[in-house]
Amino acid sequence: MGNRTTAVGHHILPLKVYLGVGAALIVLTAITVTVSFFNFGPYNLLVAMVVAAIKASLVALFFMHLKYDSKLYMIIFVAAILFLAVFIIFTLFDTLLRGDVEPITA
């Protein structure tokens, strides 16, 4: 993929990349919708999240240029996801495991 650069050195992606990524996103959407019609129990959530994560990373890497820009922006993006994950997981530590040690029965 020949990346031409502008006068001031910013690289420009060829048209093929944008259209290719766009098509991939739509295909993935189709996949995740069709999968949702079958009932795999808890795996439905897992599959949906994996597909969403793939789509999200496609958008981030190509459309938002994370693949070509300095690592700093990738660190910021990943940090946001990590801190969000910490927030959700630690809160779930509490909400899912209430009454485990001392069952609270009325």
Binding site: T6, A7, V8, G9, H10, I12, L13, L15, Y18, L19, V21, G22, L25, I26, T29, T32, V33, V35, S36, N44, L45, A48, M49, V51, A52, K55, A56, V59, A60, F62, F63, M64, D69, S70, L72, Y73, I76, F77, A79, A80, I81, F83, L84, F87, I88, T91, L92, T95, L96
Partner: protein, 215 residues
């Protein structure tokens, strides 16, 4: 655009060169996107907790969402992301008319997205599938079925507000592009709006399965 030697008009006094200004703007934008991710993160956490507490309500209620409209909206938003990226690319190449065309298409697609959202909302309001004490619909089993719609309206509502803000910014870009403010050396505002728009699309990419597909 006056092009004085070595000190182009768009360069602010406290930056040593255009590159430093552009990189600073991008770093600032990425940090702003980080705050957006954490803002929505709070609602994703609420979703995770309420879904873990009453999975059956979430499952029963999600059936009442129109998957086709949701899928259509996802495709609309993905396409608008593509046209936004192409708008940036064409300004990088200095093609002003192409940029205007792509920006206009992105704006139109955003409007389509909101219109579809409007139909979904009005349908729910009509049925009474609303959050909290406004919930009057009785087709869903479970003790507090309105919880699903509380989280649904909170997340899609906040996302909709961000789509509106994006549309306003893109409209402002269209005006400035037509006034020939941007060039292949200076297109930072378009790039920043592009980053913001891609994040709005990214958040919808997660909202769509969580509500419409899995529930």
């Amino acid at each position: 655009m006056s092009q004085t030697a070595g000190h182009p008009s768009f360069l602010q006094h406290h930056f040593s060169d255009a590159e430093q200004q552009r990189e600073s703007a991008k770093l600032g934008m990425w940090i702003f996107l980080l705050t957006e991710i954490l803002l929505f993160g709070g609602l994703f956490c609420a979703y995770a907790i309420y879904r873990s507490w009453n999975p059956e309500i979430f499952h029963n209620a999600h059936v009442h969402l129109n998957v086709y409209l949701g899928t259509l909206n996802t495709v609309v938003l993905i396409t608008s992301s593509v046209t936004m990226a192409l708008a940036i690319r064409s300004m990088q190449l200095g093609r002003r008319t192409a940029t205007l065309r792509f920006l206009a298409v992105t704006l139109a697609l955003a409007a389509v997205f909101l219109v579809i959202k409007y139909f979904e909302y009005s349908h729910k309001i009509h049925l009474g599938q609303l959050p909290g004490k406004f919930y009057t619909y009785d087709g869903i089993a479970g003790t507090n079925p309105h919880i699903f719609f509380s989280v649904y309206f909170l997340m899609t509502g906040l996302h909709g507000i961000h789509v509106l803000a994006g549309m306003a910014t893109i409209a402002w870009l269209v005006v400035r592009t037509s006034r020939n403010v941007f060039s292949s050396e200076y297109y930072t505002p378009i790039e920043m709006t592009g980053l913001y728009w891609h994040l709005v699309d990214l958040i919808w990419i997660f909202l769509f399965p969580l509500f419409y597909l899995v529930g």
